[in-house]
């Protein structure tokens, strides 16, 4: 899922201080799971913003709403009839949701309420870690299901660098060396011979290097 982290309330207060009617809009998908932008976080942020405004003696109306998703037209349409009531929207969706909102409701300022961080997994409650960089051409089949693009600091494709020490990365002793993990996993799978195969140069044009990407599926288009 897309993992996001909460923005400091001070930052959001500063962004929206000039507005009188504000909608705090959550998203029921990834940001709900990573406890950054779901219904509960919408309630907490809206409550804090209301109290801050009241404490400063400003009359501000702050409403709360949470959409099923903010990255799909049909869900964003749900607020079309009320969007004009608001001077600004604080979207607690990931960067995709914020931008999709901004595109759809061109004349309403949209502010991000979270910092979109990475594609990752919930290791345990309150701990999310990166697993994928969406590079556009997956090599997990060859690397024992462990991604050296997302998990190796140097994105190496053919084994660890000299900085790998006792299974840890030189950038930080708390970070696993991805290639150490890959070799251990290949051993466990009995596929260590895969490690001997040299990986060709990766086509980075499918990563961000090729500019913003799109997926076109004519077979499912209407």
């Amino acid at each position: 899922m897309i993992v996001a982290d909460r923005k400091p309330i001070e930052e959001i207060i500063e962004e929206v201080k000039g507005y009188k009617h504000i909608l705090v809009l959550g998203c029921n998908e990834c940001v709900t799971v990573c406890e950054a932008g779901g219904k509960k976080e919408v309630g907490v942020l809206a409550s804090a913003l209301r109290m801050h405004a009241m404490n400063e003696g400003r009359e501000v109306q702050i409403d709360e709403h949470t959409l099923e998703r903010q990255c799909d037209h049909e869900y964003l349409e749900e607020i079309r009839d009320r969007i004009d009531q608001y001077d600004a929207v604080v979207s607690l969706a990931c960067g995709v949701g914020v931008q999709f909102m901004a595109e759809k409701y061109h004349s309403t300022p949209i502010y991000p309420g979270v910092n979109t961080t990475f594609l990752g997994a919930t290791e345990e409650r309150g701990l999310w870690t990166e697993r994928c960089q969406a590079c556009g051409s997956c090599i997990l089949a060859r690397t024992g299901g462990i991604c050296p693009i997302a998990r190796c600091a140097k994105r190496l494709l053919n084994g660890p660098c000299g900085g790998s020490s006792s299974g840890r990365c030189e950038i930080n002793k708390d970070v696993d060396c991805a290639w150490h993990l890959i070799i251990e996993r290949l051993k466990a799978l009995g596929k260590l011979e895969d490690y001997e195969e040299l990986s060709p140069l990766k086509d980075w044009s499918k990563d961000r290097a090729g500019g913003p990407r799109k997926v076109v599926r004519e077979d499912v288009q209407l």
Binding site: P8, G43, S47, A48, M54, N55, G57
Partner: protein, 116 residues
């Protein structure tokens, strides 16, 4: 025991302090409560293992939010006691009462009254 404690405290019973959410406490402040304190079982004695530890973390979150928005984080507190410690319950109530008297009323309440 017939212990005395300040009369301006309203008790909200919950099955476990682990049930108390950040939102519950914020809503209380938004409605004008001068202070909110959560009284849980002793740490390590939670019937549900970690309810009171979760409550403490949530109180800490509320404290941070209240400090950020200028209401005063000290208005939210977490206390722990066992069910047999009536005198301690009364002591904590008095302590919280005095803390609030020192801090003064919740500024939100005054703003609400001005607006009404």
């Amino acid at each position: 025991m017939r212990l005395k404690y300040p009369t301006d405290i309203r008790i909200v019973r919950v099955p476990c302090t682990g049930k108390v959410d950040v939102l519950h406490m914020l809503r209380a402040f938004e409605k004008g409560a001068d202070g909110v304190y959560v009284v849980g079982c002793l740490e390590g004695d939670c019937h549900y293992n970690s309810g009171n530890l979760r409550a403490r973390k949530r109180v800490e979150q509320v404290q941070k939010i209240l400090d950020t928005i200028g209401i005063g984080g000290e208005r939210a507190q977490m206390y722990n006691l066992s069910s047999g410690e009536g005198p301690l319950f009364a002591k904590y109530a008095t302590e919280m009462h005095e803390r609030i008297l020192e801090m003064g009323p919740n500024p939100i309440k005054a703003r609400r009254q001005q607006a009404a």
